[in-house]
C-alpha cells in the first residue's frame, strides 16, 4: 500500500468528465421507450378466432386463467362459448398459454402498464378489456413455434396397387408407439364430444391411451358405444372436424385411436374380460328389436346389461345391418364386426337371424310378445338416379353391389364402371368395383372439394386408380339392343355462384355432351327406408313424415310402446348417429318400462 499514491487519487476524478455528457436517462413518462417486438405484456385474445378450448387455462401453473361466459359469445359446435379471463394477480407472463394456444388467438401485447389502487380490478379479459390490443401484439406463436403438435402421426396403409388385388384392409392402423404419440397430441378440450352424436368420452379415452391404459380406454369407449372398433374403422368422425388442433394443423386421429384401443382386444372373450360389464339381474321385461343394425345392437346391448330380455329380429344372415352389408370389407373386415357382436351375444343379447319381419314373423306378433319394441330398420332402398335407361341391365345401385359383394358374391361388372355420386357409398362402390377388376370413373356434379365423402376415402380411391370426373352430369344411359348398358352420355358443368349466398350450383354447359363407353353404371345418390313390413294400423299409430319416423327426444314414437332410431329416424346415414339413437332409446325404454 503506497502511502501516497497520486495517480490513484487523481484518476477517479476523470469521472467528472461525465458532467458534460447528456444523461442517458429514459425520461419516462415524457419519453417512452418502445418495448421489444416480442415483449410479453398484457394478454390479448382474438375472440372470433378463439374456440374456448381452455388449453391456456390448463397449462397455466398459476391457475390464473379462468374460462368464463361472455355476453357476446354464444357456444356452438366446435366452440365452447367460453373465453379465457386472466387474473393478473396470478399471472407471471411466462406466455405458456400463448405457446399452447391451438388457434393462435391468444397473444401477448406490448402494453404492460396497469396501475390502480383497487386490488379487485386485476381480472383481465383479453380482447374485451383491451379491444385495441390487436394492433399491439408482440409475443405470439405461429405454427412453427407453437407447442401444439399440429402434425398427425402418419397412418400406415397398403399401397394402392396392392390394395386393388384383394379385399384386405387398407389401413394398417397404429402400432402401440404411434398410438401413444398420437394420443399425446390431444389437448383434452372435449369440444369433439359435443359434435359426436353419441357424445363419446373422447378426451378421456384418448388420455387413457396416452397414459398407456388401453383397458381403461376400452371401458370408457364401451360406456356408451358397444361398437367401438367398428366406429374406429368407419365412423364419419365429425369430432375431427371440430378438433382444436385442426384450426392450424391436423386433427387428432380420434377414430384411429379408438380403433387402436378396442383393437387391443382380439377376441370377444378378451373384450368381455376387459370391459367386464356389470350385468344386472333379469327384471322380467322383454324388449323386441327390429333390425340388427348399429342402433338395434346398441339398444340391445345396453338393455341386456340392465337386465332386460332382449331379442333382435334380423332379416339377413349376419348382424350389423348396413355396417355389415353396406361397407366394403377392406374397410371393415367381417371378423372385426363379428367379434363385437359375439361379445354382445355373450352378455345375453339374443339375435334371430334370417327372420325378416313381415315375412318370417309379423310385426304384430313382435309387438304383442314384448313390452316394448325398438325399430332400427335403417335405409335399405336406394334412390333411383332418375335418368333414362337406369333400369338397363348393368345399371344398379351401389348398395346392391355392396350387399352382393359382402354376401360373398362376385357380380360381373364388365371392365368399365361409372359410379354416379360423391358420397362415401359412391366411393365404396367405386373402390369395390376396382377390386373386382374394372376401370372405374366417378361422376360428380360439383367439385372434388365439395364431395361429401371423407377426404381419406377420396384419396384412397385415387391411389387405387379410380378416376374422378368432377362437374359432370350424366343425362342418359345408352343401352344396346339387349337392354344392356353400353355407354353413358353426360354433360360438363360449370360452377355458378348462388345468388342467395348458398354454395355454388353446377350448371350444365350447353353442347358439352359427351358419350363414354361403359359396361356398368352404379348409382349412389342415397337411400330411403322401407316400411313395407309395418302393417297399416301401426303405420298410422306412429307418424311417418317424408319417409322418416317421427320420434320425440326419447326416441319414442307416437305409439308409446314403439321406439325407433337409426337412419330411418335421423337420416344422417351414419353409424354413430344410429348408435346414439340406440343409446338414447335405452334410457327411454328403461324409464318407460321401469316406472
Amino acid at each position: 500500500m503506497a502511502f501516497f499514491d497520486i495517480k490513484g487519487l487523481v484518476t477517479p476524478f476523470t469521472a467528472l468528465k461525465q458532467f458534460g455528457k447528456a444523461p442517458h436517462t429514459v425520461t419516462f413518462p415524457y419519453h417512452k421507450k418502445e418495448t421489444a417486438q416480442r415483449y410479453r405484456g398484457l394478454h390479448f385474445n382474438d375472440l372470433e378466432v378463439c374456440i374456448g378450448c381452455g388449453n391456456c387455462s390448463t397449462i397455466c401453473m398459476n391457475e390464473a386463467i379462468d374460462m368464463v361466459n361472455l355476453e357476446q359469445i354464444e357456444g356452438k359446435a366446435g366452440d365452447s362459448g367460453l373465453r379465457p379471463r386472466v387474473d393478473n394477480g396470478r399471472c407471471c407472463w411466462c406466455a405458456l398459454c400463448v405457446e399452447v394456444c391451438p388457434t393462435g388467438s391468444l397473444n401477448l401485447t406490448k402494453d404492460y402498464i396497469y396501475v390502480t389502487p383497487d386490488a379487485d380490478s386485476f381480472l383481465w379479459t383479453p380482447g374485451v378489456s383491451n379491444p385495441e390490443g390487436k394492433d399491439n401484439i408482440s409475443f405470439h406463436s405461429d405454427v412453427d413455434t407453437s407447442l401444439s403438435m399440429f402434425d398427425r402421426v402418419p397412418m400406415p396403409e397398403l399401397d394402392g396397387k396392392e390394395r386393388v388385388k384383394s379385399f384386405a384392409e387398407t389401413m394398417l392402423y397404429y402400432t402401440e408407439e404411434a398410438a401413444r404419440e398420437e394420443a399425446s397430441r390431444c389437448i383434452s378440450c372435449s369440444l369433439c364430444t359435443e359434435v359426436c352424436p353419441d357424445h363419446m368420452h373422447i378426451p378421456e379415452y384418448i388420455n387413457a391411451i396416452a397414459k398407456g391404459e388401453d383397458d381403461d380406454a376400452i371401458r370408457i369407449i364401451y360406456d356408451n358405444n358397444p361398437l367401438g372398433e367398428m366406429c374406429g374403422k368407419v365412423c364419419t368422425r365429425r369430432c375431427e372436424d371440430v378438433c382444436a388442433l385442426q384450426v392450424r394443423g391436423d386433427a387428432v386421429a380420434i377414430r384411429w385411436l379408438k380403433e387402436y384401443a378396442v383393437g387391443r382386444a382380439e377376441t370377444a372373450e378378451m373384450l368381455k374380460e376387459i370391459v367386464n360389464p356389470d350385468i344386472q339381474e333379469p327384471n322380467g321385461k322383454k324388449v323386441g328389436i327390429v333390425g340388427a343394425g348399429p342402433s338395434g345392437l346398441t339398444t340391445a346391448y345396453y338393455l341386456a346389461l340392465k337386465g332386460f330380455d332382449v331379442t333382435i329380429y334380423e332379416a339377413n344372415e349376419y348382424a350389423g345391418g348396413m355396417v355389415m352389408y353396406g361397407i366394403p370389407k377392406y374397410r371393415l373386415p367381417m371378423d372385426s364386426l363379428n367379434k363385437q357382436i359375439d361379445y354382445m351375444k355373450s352378455i345375453g343379447v339374443k339375435i334371430k337371424f334370417n327372420t325378416k319381419v313381415g315375412k318370417d314373423i309379423t310385426f304384430d306378433e313382435i309387438y304383442k310378445e314384448h313390452d316394448a319394441v325398438f325399430v332400427g330398420i335403417g335405409f335399405q332402398k336406394p334412390y333411383s338416379i332418375g335418368i333414362k335407361g337406369e333400369d338397363a341391365q348393368g345399371a344398379f345401385p351401389a348398395v346392391n353391389l355392396l350387399f352382393d359383394v359382402n354376401s360373398g358374391k362376385t357380380p360381373d361388372m364388365g371392365n368399365k364402371v361409372v359410379v354416379i355420386g360423391g358420397g362415401n357409398v359412391a366411393i365404396d362402390g367405386a373402390r369395390v368395383s376396382r377390386r373386382l377388376g374394372a376401370e372405374v370413373v366417378i361422376m360428380y356434379r360439383r367439385r372434388v372439394q365439395d364431395m361429401p365423402a371423407d377426404w381419406e376415402e377420396i384419396e384412397g380411391a385415387e391411389h387405387e386408380g379410380v378416376e374422378i370426373m368432377p362437374q359432370t352430369i350424366p343425362v342418359e344411359i345408352i343401352t344396346d339392343d339387349n337392354n344392356k348398358v353400353k355407354a353413358i352420355k353426360y354433360l360438363k358443368a360449370e360452377m355458378v355462384a348462388d345468388d342467395k349466398g348458398g354454395r355454388p350450383r353446377p350448371v350444365p354447359i350447353e353442347g358439352s355432351e359427351t358419350i363414354m363407353e361403359v359396361s356398368s353404371v352404379i348409382g349412389a345418390i342415397g337411400q330411403e327406408a322401407d316400411y313395407s313390413f309395418l302393417p297399416e294400423e301401426y303405420r298410422n299409430s306412429i307418424e311417418i313424415n317424408r319417409g322418416r319416423m317421427v320420434v320425440n327426444e326419447q326416441m319414442q314414437t307416437a305409439n308409446p310402446k314403439i321406439f325407433a332410431g337409426g337412419d330411418a329416424v335421423n337420416r344422417t346415414a351414419d353409424a354413430i348417429s344410429a348408435i346414439a339413437d340406440g343409446y338414447r332409446a335405452v334410457k327411454a325404454i328403461e324409464k318407460f318400462l321401469m316406472n
Binding site: K7, G8, P12, A36, W93, C94, T145, R185
Partner: protein
C-alpha cells in the same frame, strides 16, 4: 481493552444487506466477534411448488430462484431434463444458450460492480453500472420478451430464434461496455481508496478453500483455476477461446480483479459466439406439455454462473411432474458457513463489503 459486546442485526431491512436476509453480529467496538446468518425471508418452497407442476410448467418458475441471474437456473433445469430424457438439443440452440449465459454473466457483474461499490459508499458506480446493465436487459427483452425473467431456455432448446439485426445490437452493446469498462477502471479499480478498502479484507484461507466449498470467483481469487466451463464442459464452451483468470490474494480486491478480468473475457466470448454461430433450428419440440412424461432417473448438472457453480439435482419418477428438483446455488455455501466464518474478526464497515464480494444472493439459499 475488551469492550462490551453488543448485538447488531444487519438486516433484513438494511441498505447494506444483499437481498433479504439477516446477519446477527456480535460486535465488540468495531470488530465482529461472531456472525450468524439468518435466512428464510425469501423462502417460497420452490421444490414443493414443482411437485405440483409438470415438467414444462416448472421451467417457468426456476428462473425466480436467483433474481439477479436467472439464466443459469433455466439452463440447468433444461439440461437436467434433457439428460434424464435423452433429448437432443440443436446446435444453434446451444450457441444461443451460451450467448444468453455470457450476457447474463455480464449483467450480473454489472450489478455486482454496483453492489460492491454501493456498499463501499462510491455511489457513482452503481449509478453507472446498473444503468449500463439496462442495455443488456434491453437485449434480453428483444431476444426473450422479458427484461428480468427470460423464461427462454427450455428443455429442447430455446424458445425463439434471434430476431433480425440482433447480433449487430449485441456487438454495439459490447463495444459500449468495453468503452465503459475503461471508465469503471478509472473510477474503481485505480482508485486508491477503493484499493485500500479492499486489500487484505475478507481473506479466505486458500488451503481450505476447496474443502470449504468455495466456488466461482472467490475460489479463483484464492489461486485455483476452477471453472465449470472448463472442468465439466457444457454447451459449446469447449469451442470458445477464453482463459480462467486467477489471483493469489484471496481477498476482496483479488475477487474484484477476477471479476474485472472475467468481464472482459465475457465480452470477448460474446463476440466469438456471434462470429461463429451456426444456423439451423433452435428447438427440438417437446410433446404436448400436459402429457409429457420423463423416464425415471436422476441427473446432477451444473453451470458456472457469475457467482460460481450452480447445481441442479433433478429426479424423475417417470411421471409428468418432477419428483424432486433441488437447487444448489453458490450462495448456499458462501452466504452461510463461509460468510459466518470470514466475518469473524472483520470490521463492521466491511461486513456488507465482504458479503458483496462473495456474491451472496439469499433467494437461492432458501429458494
Amino acid at each position: 481493552m475488551r469492550e462490551k459486546a453488543t448485538t447488531l442485526y444487519l438486516g433484513p431491512q438494511h441498505p447494506g444487506i444483499t437481498g433479504n436476509m439477516m446477519i446477527k453480529l456480535k460486535v465488540e467496538g468495531d470488530t465482529v466477534v461472531k456472525a450468524q446468518t439468518h435466512v428464510g425471508y425469501l423462502h417460497r418452497g420452490f421444490e414443493k411448488l414443482m411437485e405440483r407442476r409438470n415438467w414444462l410448467q416448472s421451467f417457468t418458475i426456476v428462473c425466480r430462484i436467483c433474481v439477479p441471474e436467472p439464466d443459469p437456473n433455466e439452463l440447468n433445469y433444461s439440461r437436467a431434463v434433457e439428460e434424464i430424457e435423452g433429448r437432443e438439443v440443436p446446435e444453434r440452440a446451444e450457441w444461443i444458450r451460451t450467448l444468453m449465459m455470457e450476457l447474463s454473466r455480464l449483467a450480473s457483474y454489472l450489478l455486482w460492480f454496483g453492489g460492491q461499490n454501493g456498499s463501499a459508499g462510491l455511489y457513482t458506480m452503481p449509478q453507472w453500472s446498473v444503468g449500463d446493465r439496462d442495455y443488456i436487459l434491453d437485449l434480453f427483452e428483444e431476444l426473450t420478451g422479458g427484461r428480468v425473467y427470460h423464461m427462454y431456455i427450455w428443455p429442447g432448446g430455446v424458445r425463439r430464434d434471434l430476431p433480425n439485426g440482433f447480433t449487430d445490437r449485441v456487438l454495439q452493446t459490447m463495444d459500449y461496455l468495453e468503452k465503459r469498462l475503461k471508465q469503471y477502471d478509472q473510477l474503481m479499480f485505480e482508485n486508491t481508496i477503493f484499493q485500500r478498502r479492499a486489500q487484505g479484507i475478507g481473506w479466505i484461507d486458500p488451503a481450505k478453500a476447496v474443502e470449504w466449498g468455495v466456488v466461482g470467483p472467490p475460489l479463483r481469487a484464492a489461486g485455483f483455476k476452477s471453472d465449470v466451463r472448463i472442468d465439466d464442459p457444457y454447451l459449446i464452451y469447449d469451442q470458445l477461446d477464453f482463459e480462467v483468470p486467477t489471483q493469489q490474494g484471496s481477498d476482496v480486491w483479488a475477487r474484484a480483479l477476477v471479476r474485472r478480468t472475467e468481464f472482459q473475457q465475457s465480452i470477448n466470448m460474446v463476440r466469438q459466439i456471434i462470429d461463429k454461430m451456426p444456423g439451423g433450428p433452435v428447438y427440438n419440440k417437446i410433446p404436448n406439455p400436459m402429457k409429457w412424461t420423463i423416464p425415471a432417473g436422476d441427473a446432477y448438472v451444473k453451470a458456472e454462473s457469475a457467482r460460481g457453480e450452480f447445481g441442479y439435482y433433478v429426479v424423475s419418477d417417470g411421471s409428468n411432474k418432477p419428483r424432486r428438483v433441488h437447487v444448489k446455488g453458490p450462495a448456499y455455501v458462501h452466504g452461510v458457513t463461509l460468510l459466518e466464518n470470514i466475518l469473524e474478526g472483520a470490521n463492521i464497515s466491511d461486513v456488507s463489503f465482504i458479503m458483496n464480494s462473495l456474491g451472496t444472493c439469499p433467494p437461492e439459499i432458501e429458494r
